[in-house]
Amino acid sequence: MFSEQARKTAGQCRHYAMCKIDYLGNGLCPSGEKNHYVSHFPQGRMDIYHALCRGLVPISRGLVEIADSCDLCGICDKQCHFVTGMRPVEVMRALKAHVRDWLDQGNQPVFAGFDLDLEELRRIVGQKWASNDPAILLTYADDPFPLAGMRTPRYVVLPRTRKEVAALVRFANDRNLPYVVRGNGGSVFGFVFSDGLIMDMNRMKGIEIDPENWTARVEPGVTSFELQKEAVRHGLRANTAEPAATVCGNIVCTGLFSTWSNAYGVNADTFVDMEFIDSQGNFFRLNDPGTINAFCFEHKMKPSPGICTLAHVRLHPTSEDEEGLMVPFEDFEEAVVFARELSKRRIGLAVGVLGGHYLSTFMSPSADLADKVRFGLTNALGLRYVVFMIGDRYACEAVRSMHEFVIDSKLFRMLMLGLPRMGDDEWLDLVSGMQTDQPPYAILLSPEMHSLLEAVLRPSPQTAALAVDEDLQGFYEKLYARPEMTDMVWLNMFRIISARMSRRKHMFAFLVYVPLNRVEVTEQICTELGRIADKYGIEHDYGFLTPLDLGKRAILEYDYYIDHQDSLEKEKIRKAQQEFEPYLDNLSARTKGVKWLKYLFSQGCARKEAFLYT
């Protein structure tokens, strides 16, 4: 018997791999930490349970071991709830119960079979680190990307060293076996699948900081979160992508970008050198004379230069007086112009334009609260967009002198810790009823109002925790008592709340480089993507925009939201693809400064000048 509720939850795993990093400081899934395969992390068990319910995987020896290795410690419940609102423990429990019942009935688990090639792989990476068990393979076969199907590999291997990776390439070549490399398994674009061999880099976690050069050498299994943690320990900062994404994988795939890219750049700006293994199993570095030119850009889909085995990335200095500020706007164009002005004048490090949707979702510990708060922020307060900036005290002073209304770190903390009361109907009615020439936020967020706001919101970790299930409130109280959880600088460095964007549904993100001096181009892209989404009944919203290269260019994110388990929703996006793909292709080909990220795939090492100014 399968639990319907557990099946539903299992099917909704977003594959963000947040259960594979200790981003809440409450530990990692012990089984995953020990075994490293995706299958041994909650993400893998969710996939396995969902596949079991659909009869897609037999109960194998591996599956029994995977189920048994979960001790129901509950760490994943907290981790997953923080970003998705889901509670995976019920799935873990259901999986264990199902397997135990099945065995109790006298059934024997399936043995994957003896395989000479597997033995050879085990000789390269060690007995434990190569597998052809169907349960393990299943967890490397699919992701929530709606436009790709399932592809089950023959083997999964977890190399530990660069030499092992080279040996694996030669092994695959000898047998004409296709292979792909997978970073942390946080895949959402349907790219990292193969019928042959999958190399999971999860065991290659080496980080070596060079404090003199402000650089770090990172192995391909190192995630952004882990690098940032290590960089911070040395008083430095990395320009990082999503916390669970691997640094090497990110650079090679699309190039690194974040709100810090305003100051730290993108793509080739972010590293000093990269080491690869080519298709013959030979090592090369991008800085080697006579090697392939990975710094150029071609407006077409290209393969990556090889398997990245080391990224020598740049780190950046920090100062103790850094603070995050948010400048509210009612109008998108005004917000963009302000962000461009900051970038042009070199004010601030991280800069971005966020909409009410992102802001409320990032700040809210639950999806329901996010919806309420979004209404409160945008409709009642008139706070439709914010320009978000992190800078030192000189940058903050400059921003304050440029704009009258600013949400500083103290006010942000108050809002975040009082958020459940921000959505209070009576309070919102009162605020909505104000008839003012200024946007209501200009009045409500003024310093004179802080005492009243505090009385209304009663900000505290206890208040913030009111937004979540009762049994999790104690955990959230402790979590929100930690200063970094309401610190804009920390949150933006470690980016642990950005995965909340997929809390309601899987997010299908469009990332497009745009010319920032032509706001109308950005507005047109948003309008057109919105129009297409509306036509096919797809939920959609503006994401964010970050200025680059002194305000000349920017990267824009616009998002569609779909239930990736709903075949109707998949069909909608398939139809929409017939329109958005040619639209963005044409725009990328014809409009200066516009480049859809699709063309950057596997060209992430390119110099930004090679694709932003063509």
Binding site: E330, G382, D425, E426, W427, D429, L430, G433, M434, Q435, T436, D437, Q438, P439, I443, L444, S446, E448, M449, H450, S451, L452, L453, E454, A455, V456, R458
Partner: protein
């Protein structure tokens, strides 16, 4: 031309789910008229569902609703967003139009939206009725189209002046548009100009809790907020604002309201407005402009007294503008001020609205505007609390 009035006429009422529109529609229906109501669907409810709820609220009997037909549309859309069949009904049946739909926002930030409803919406309506059998037009306007002037404001069309806000301006423009249209098309035109309308003076019932209600609601919110702070959280936030709870249960809420005691608000209850509307329509079929106002203004001091007495508050007082220069507003006063700022021209009102024509008609029918006394205030506040300021409606 004068319209002969009888019950077979069909009225088209716009804004029929709104505050004044619903009262007018209700009154027409209860007198046995045929009424077409133009209304939008909203919050998951169709226009007929919304209208049904309103009529339930009025307690209108089912048989009295037989003359009603609800047309789902939108004044802001060309053709009023009506389908061909409904547009045909309007053209073929509507004999008199009662145009109540209006956007009452004062904020210049909402200019586009207010213009769209109050000016373009009227033009959309006129385009639809242009080839209809309509012979009379009733425009619900406002006494405050008088704009920035002092002294006597004529009960007739006057020259444009400066306006206090976009609402006044657009209602003035709407009067101009309809006046020209009716002259060109030989239609009877009644323009009704009420002052500030509050709930029913006998029952306190209302569907709208803005204008008079919002500032009082703000004070009530402060009262609950700080009473809770004192009783449950030790009162730190209350002390910061000088708020205290006295032994007799009265909350001391020191709050200054910028005003003077010479002037005050011109308030009329909605039941008086409806009575006056019906009387004028019948008593003066040739049309004209009519000020429906209260001969007595209510001073802010009196309103503050009523509020303190009803809600068990003290500390609220009137202050001269200079006082706010010496001692800037605190958070409570800033928020409160933002709820009354747009009403300050009406709080300081020294305009006298001429109403010879209206009062002559009303006097003939023994209709007088009820005084805004404490019992009337109390009954209105009882209803406001009973419905949680409309949230439970």
């Amino acid at each position: 031309m004068t319209i002969p009035y009888h019950n077979q006429h069909t009225f088209l009422v716009t804004g029929g789910t709104g505050f004044l529109g619903s009262h007018v529609a209700m009154s027409l229906l209860s007198r046995g008229h045929q009424v077409l109501v133009l209304a939008r669907g909203r919050n998951g409810r169709t226009a007929p569902q919304r209208m049904d709820r309103i009529l339930d609220w009025f307690g209108l009997r089912k048989e009295q609703r037989l003359g009603l037909k609800v047309l789902q549309g939108d004044l802001n859309e060309p053709g009023l967003g009506l389908g061909a069949q409904d547009a045909g009904i309007v053209a073929g049946e509507a004999y008199e139009i009662v145009h109540c739909a209006s956007d009452t926002s004062f904020s210049s930030r909402k200019r586009e939206q207010v213009e769209k409803t109050n000016v373009l919406g009227l033009e959309n309506l006129l385009n639809v009725i242009h080839k209809s059998k309509c012979r009379g037009f009733h425009l619900i306007s406002t006494a405050y189209v008088a704009g920035r002037r002092s002294g006597l404001c004529a009960e007739g069309f006057d020259q444009a002046v400066e306006f206090h806000n976009v609402y006044e301006e657009t209602k003035f423009r709407a009067e101009g548009i309809i006046s020209e249209y009716c002259t060109q098309n030989s239609l009877n035109l009644h323009v009704y100009r009420p002052s500030i309308v509050y709930g029913n003076s006998s029952t306190g019932k209302t569907t709208l809790f803005n204008a008079l209600y919002f500032p009082i609601r703000t004070l009530h919110f402060f009262q609950k907020l700080y009473a809770r702070d004192i009783l449950e959280f030790g009162g730190k936030k209350a002390r910061e604002m000088g708020v205290r709870l006295d032994n007799d249960g009265v909350l001391h809420l020191p709050l200054r309201i910028q005003s003077s005691d010479e002037c005050g608000l011109n308030l009329i209850p909605v039941n008086h407005f409806v009575e006056a509307f019906m009387a004028i329509r019948q008593g003066c079929p040739e049309g004209g402009v009519f000020h429906i106002v209260n001969p007595q203004r209510t001073t802010i001091n009196r309103l503050a007294d009523y509020t303190q007495r009803f809600f068990k508050l003290d500390g609220i007082r009137i202050a001269e503008p200079e006082e706010f220069v010496k001692q800037p507003r605190n958070g409570l006063e800033i928020l409160f001020n933002n709820h009354i700022r747009y009403y300050s021209p009406y709080m300081q009102d020294k305009r006298i609205f001429e109403n010879f024509r209206t009062s002559a008609i009303l006097a003939g029918k023994n209709i007088a505007c009820p005084e805004f006394s404490y019992p009337v205030f109390a009954i209105c506040m009882d209803y406001a609390l009973e419905t949680d300021w409309g949230r439970l409606l």
